[in-house]
C-alpha cells in the first residue's frame, strides 16, 4: 500500500474561495495563516502551501473586485509560521522571473534554518509586462525564454546552496578557529541569464536545498519538473486524467537518471464534506452558487470572449456576439486566460450546451466551471483519495479549502482518522524535515 501525502493550500485569490460565507475570516491576519497551518499539523499533513501573485488582477482595465484581493509576502509569513508549528513543511510560490538567485537562495536557506528543515519552494515563471510594471526589469523576458530562465535560476540557486557543505563552521573558542578553511561559499555562474560571482553568505541549512515544487502543465513544464522537481503541484485530480498525467510525467524521469519515487505527483483538490454523500452533493451545489455569483459568471465569460460583456444579464442567455481573437486584453494577471487556447471552439461548445440544457449564463458557468474534486461523506472522500493514490492517479493531494481559515477543520477531524485507520496515512510524524515527510532522499 502506498502511503498518501497530504498538503494544505491557503485559500487562494480566486473565486474558489467563498469570502461571503459567514464563517469566512481574514485573508491577511496572521491568525488565519496560523489556524490553517496548525490544523494541518494536527492532522499530520506533509506541508502547508501559500501561493503568490505579484500584481493585482485586472479585468476591463480595472482591479478585479469580486474575489478575495490581497496577499502577504510569502517568505515572511512562512518564517512566522515556523514559530507556531514544529513539524509541518512550509512551502510557497516564489517567482523566478522577478527575483534574483542570490537573494532567493539566501531567503530559502534562511527559512530552512529558521524552520529546522521544513522549507519548500514552488518555482513559477512569468514574463508578462503587466506584472513587470511592478519591477525593475519590467516585462523583459520573451515568453519562450521563461522556462530557460526558470531552469537557470533554479540551478543557480542550487549551486549557491551547495557552496556550503555543512562542515565549514567549527567555532572552537579555545583555538580561535571559527571556520575550518578560509573563503567558504565561493561561486561563479555565467550563462545566458546570469553572470554572478562571489561568496554565498548562508551556511548550509538542515535540508541543504529546499524541496522543489512545480506546477507547469505544458510539455515544457512537465519536462522541467521531470528534470528538477521533487513534487508536482498538479491539476488532474480525476482518475483517468490523473493516471495519464502521472504516467506521462513519471515516464520522463528515467532520461534524467531519476527514479519514480523522486518526483511526487500531488494534484490540487477542492473538497466538500458532509455527513452523507447526498448532503455533500447538495452542499456542493450551494457552494458552487456562492462561488459563481451573477457578476462572477459574466466576468468569467469575458475571459473567453475577451471583450466587455457587462451589459448582459447573467440570468439570461449567452451573449450573441463573437469572441475577440488574438492577444488577451480584457483579463490580466491571472493564469486562467491561458486555459482557453481556442476561444471560438469553447464558445461554440458552450452555446450548444446552453441550448441543449436551457442554461442561463450563470447556470452555464456553474456547469462548465467544474465541480469540486472530492465530494462526499468522510468515508467516501477517504476511499476516493486512497483509490486515486493506490491506482497511480496521484501520490497524494494538495487540499484547497474554500473557507478561510477553518475550511480544513472537518477534513482534519473526520477524514484523516479514516485514512490512518486504513494504514495509508501517518498517525505521527516520523521525520523532522519536509524532505523526510515526503520520503525524499536527503
Amino acid at each position: 500500500m502506498k502511503q498518501i501525502h497530504l498538503a494544505a493550500h491557503f485559500p487562494g485569490v480566486n473565486n474558489t474561495t467563498v469570502w461571503s460565507d459567514p464563517k469566512a475570516g481574514s485573508h491577511i491576519d496572521f491568525a488565519s495563516f496560523a489556524h490553517l497551518a496548525r490544523t494541518a499539523e494536527r492532522a499530520k499533513f506533509d506541508f502547508f502551501f501559500l501561493a503568490e501573485g505579484l500584481r493585482l488582477r485586472e479585468q476591463g482595465g480595472q482591479i478585479y473586485d469580486l474575489d478575495v484581493v490581497g496577499r502577504p509576502d510569502t517568505f515572511t509569513v512562512l518564517a512566522a509560521l515556523a514559530a507556531v508549528t514544529e513539524r509541518i513543511g512550509l512551502t510557497g510560490t516564489i517567482n523566478s522571473t522577478f527575483n534574483e538567485p542570490y537573494e532567493v537562495a539566501r531567503q530559502f536557506a534562511s527559512l530552512d534554518h529558521l524552520s529546522a528543515g521544513r522549507a519548500g519552494w514552488n518555482v513559477v515563471t512569468s514574463w508578462d509586462a503587466f506584472t513587470g510594471e511592478n519591477f525593475r526589469r519590467g516585462g523583459y523576458l520573451a515568453a519562450e525564454d521563461r522556462y530557460a530562465r526558470a531552469e537557470s535560476f533554479l540551478r543557480t540557486a542550487w549551486e549557491l546552496f551547495d557552496t556550503w557543505h555543512g562542515d565549514e563552521i567549527v567555532a572552537d573558542a579555545q583555538s580561535g578557529r571559527f571556520l575550518r578553511e578560509p573563503g567558504p561559499g565561493k561561486f561563479r555562474r555565467q550563462d545566458a541569464f546570469f553572470d554572478i560571482a562571489g561568496q554565498f553568505n548562508v551556511p548550509r541549512s538542515p535540508q541543504g536545498r529546499p524541496v522543489i515544487l512545480q506546477a507547469g502543465d505544458s510539455n515544457e513544464g512537465r519536462e522541467f519538473a521531470a528534470a528538477t522537481a521533487d513534487a508536482i503541484f498538479g491539476r488532474h485530480a480525476t482518475r483517468d486524467e490523473g493516471r495519464a498525467f502521472y504516467r506521462d510525467v513519471k515516464d520522463r524521469l528515467a532520461k534524467y537518471g531519476r527514479t519514480e519515487n523522486q518526483l511526487l505527483i500531488l494534484p490540487a483538490a477542492t473538497f466538500i464534506l458532509a455527513d452523507t454523500d447526498a448532503e455533500a452533493n447538495e452542499l456542493a451545489h450551494e457552494v458552487r452558487r456562492a462561488q459563481i455569483s451573477g457578476p462572477t459568471a459574466l466576468r468569467f465569460l469575458e475571459q473567453v470572449w475577451n471583450r466587455d460583456l457587462s451589459g448582459y444579464d447573467p440570468d439570461g442567455p449567452l451573449p450573441d456576439v463573437d469572441p475577440v481573437l488574438g492577444e488577451h486584453t480584457v483579463a490580466r494577471g491571472r493564469a486562467s486566460v491561458r486555459m482557453f487556447r481556442d476561444p471560438q471552439a469553447t464558445v461554440a461548445e458552450w452555446r450548444a450546451l446552453a441550448d441543449e440544457k436551457k442554461l442561463s449564463v450563470r447556470e452555464l458557468v456553474i456547469a462548465v466551471g467544474g465541480r469540486q474534486d472530492l465530494i462526499g461523506s468522510p468515508a467516501t472522500i477517504a476511499d476516493t483519495i486512497n483509490d486515486l493514490v493506490q491506482n497511480d492517479a496521484a501520490d497524494g493531494f494538495i487540499l484547497v479549502p474554500h473557507v478561510t481559515p477553518g475550511g480544513l477543520d472537518d477534513f482534519a477531524d473526520r477524514v484523516v482518522p479514516l485514512l490512518q485507520e486504513r494504514g495509508v496515512f501517518r498517525s505521527e510524524y516520523t521525520g523532522t524535515t519536509l524532505r523526510e515527510h515526503l520520503g525524499l532522499d536527503a
Partner: protein
C-alpha cells in the same frame, strides 16, 4: 526630560570580532531560531523600544567591499527580515527592525515583506535601510558594477558622485516602499455580499512612481500594514546619508564621539529635514554606541583588553566604544540626551553578556533615575516612539 528610547543592535555573537569566544557565547547556535528568539525576548524583558538585526548581501569581511581570508571571526548569517518574522509570534511588544538592502533589490518585494512583518507582529515592524556601495555585493547580483571605493578617501569626487547616485536611488526606493504601504486605504476591504464586491477598488491606488533607476506601478499586493507606515530607520555618517535620513526616515542613527559632535550632527540633520519639508514631523536622532559593560570599570577594561588580545588587534568601530559600568553609561546617555539625542541604539560588544548587561544592568539604573519606562504602555513600534499613525496619502482628507 522625557524618557529616552533604547534599542539594541543584534549581530551574530556581538560586535567585537572575538565576542564568539566569550565563555557565555553560543557560536554554534547563531543560525538557529531559538538563539534569535532568546535574544529578542531578553531585549523585550528589558522593555526596549526595538531591536535591529544586521544583514548584508555578502559574507562578513574585515575588508570594505571584498572578501577576506580570515578563519577567526564569525562568518555566515540569516536573512534579517525572516529572522524578525520568526521571532514576531514569540514576542508581544518589542519593535522588530531588520536591515534590508535597497541597492540590488526590488522595492516592491521589500514593501510587501515589511508590510507582512507588520501584519504578523501586529504593528511592530521597522526597517533599517541599507545602501550597498560594495563591489562584492554588486557581483552577487550581476545587474550593475560598482567601482571600488577607497575607504580612506571617502570625500574623493568620484566617490561622492557614486554616493549621491546610490543614496538618491535609496531615497526613491523608500518612497516607493512608502507609497505601496499607502496604496490600499485602511477600509478598502468591504466584503459587500449584496454587490458581490470584496474590495472597493476606488480605495486601491496605483502609485505610478517613475525614477531614473526604476518605475513601479502598484498597487501593492498586500493590504496597508497595521501601523500604516512601519518605522523607517537609517544609519548615517556623513552629509549624503544625513540627507537620506532627513528626507526618508523616522529614526536616523548617528555616530558622534561626544556630546558636542552630537549637537553638530543633529543640527545638520535638522537642517536637511527642513529642506526636505519635514520640519513639522518627528524625526528621532539616535546615537549608536558599542557597549562593553561590567560591574566595575576595571573589570570592563580587562574584558575589553582580553577580547582585543583574542582578536589580535584593537577593535575599532564607526561608533564610539563605551567600556565601563551601567551607571557610567547611564550618565553618558543622559548627557547626550541633553544635547538633543532622543534615543540610543546600543551595539552589545558580546552577546549575550552585554545584552543582559543592558537589560538587567543599564535599564534598572535608568528606571531608578526616572529616565526609562517601567512597563510597556503602548503596543506598536510607532507608539513606543511617540509617532502617530499617519493618514494615508491617497485617502481623501
Amino acid at each position: 526630560m522625557p524618557h529616552l528610547h533604547l534599542a539594541v543592535a543584534l549581530d551574530g555573537a556581538g560586535w567585537h570580532p572575538a565576542a564568539w569566544r566569550e565563555p557565555t557565547a553560543e557560536p554554534h547556535h547563531l543560525l538557529t531560531a531559538a538563539y534569535w528568539a532568546g535574544l529578542v525576548q531578553e531585549a523585550e524583558a528589558g522593555l526596549l523600544d526595538f531591536v535591529t538585526i544586521e544583514d548584508a548581501v555578502a559574507l562578513q569581511s574585515t575588508l570594505f567591499g571584498a572578501p577576506d581570508e580570515r578563519t577567526d571571526q564569525v562568518r555566515g548569517r540569516l536573512d534579517a527580515v525572516l529572522v524578525a518574522a520568526r521571532v514576531a509570534p514569540v514576542t508581544r511588544h518589542i519593535g522588530l527592525v531588520p536591515t534590508a538592502t535597497v541597492t540590488h533589490t526590488e522595492p516592491f518585494h521589500l514593501s510587501k515583506a515589511l508590510a507582512t512583518l507588520d501584519h504578523v507582529s501586529l504593528g511592530r515592524a521597522g526597517w533599517r535601510v541599507q545602501v550597498s556601495g560594495k563591489p562584492d555585493e554588486a557581483a552577487h547580483f550581476g545587474r550593475r558594477t560598482v567601482p571600488a571605493i577607497d575607504p580612506a578617501h571617502l570625500d574623493a569626487p568620484a566617490t561622492l558622485d557614486l554616493f549621491n547616485e546610490l543614496f538618491d536611488e535609496a531615497a526613491d526606493a523608500v518612497e516607493v516602499v512608502r507609497r505601496l504601504w499607502d496604496s490600499w486605504e485602511d477600509d478598502a476591504e468591504i466584503r459587500d455580499v449584496a454587490t458581490g464586491r470584496f474590495i472597493d477598488r476606488d480605495k486601491l491606488h496605483y502609485i505610478d512612481f517613475a525614477g531614473p533607476k526604476f518605475s513601479v506601478r502598484g498597487p501593492s499586493i498586500t493590504p496597508r500594514p497595521p501601523q500604516g507606515q512601519p518605522v523607517v530607520t537609517a544609519l548615517a555618517h556623513s552629509a549624503v546619508p544625513y540627507r537620506l535620513g532627513a528626507r526618508a526616515a523616522d529614526v536616523v542613527y548617528i555616530t558622534p564621539a561626544d556630546a558636542d559632535q552630537a549637537r553638530t550632527t543633529i543640527a545638520e540633520v535638522r537642517e536637511q529635514q527642513a529642506i526636505a519639508g519635514r520640519a513639522a514631523e518627528t524625526v528621532h536622532v539616535f546615537a549608536d554606541l558599542v557597549v562593553l559593560l561590567d560591574e566595575t570599570e576595571a573589570a570592563a577594561a580587562d574584558r575589553h583588553a582580553r577580547l582585543d588580545e583574542l582578536a589580535g588587534y584593537s577593535f575599532t568601530s564607526d561608533a564610539k566604544i563605551f567600556t565601563g559600568t551601567p551607571e557610567r553609561l547611564a550618565d553618558l546617555l543622559q548627557e547626550w540626551q541633553a544635547a538633543g539625542i532622543s534615543g540610543f541604539r546600543l551595539r552589545p560588544a558580546s552577546i549575550p553578556r552585554d545584552l543582559t548587561a543592558i537589560t538587567r544592568g543599564l535599564v534598572p539604573v535608568l528606571q531608578g533615575r526616572d529616565a526609562f519606562r517601567r512597563a510597556y504602555a503602548t503596543n506598536t513600534l510607532r507608539e513606543h516612539l511617540g509617532l502617530t499613525r499617519p493618514a494615508n496619502r491617497y485617502a481623501p482628507a
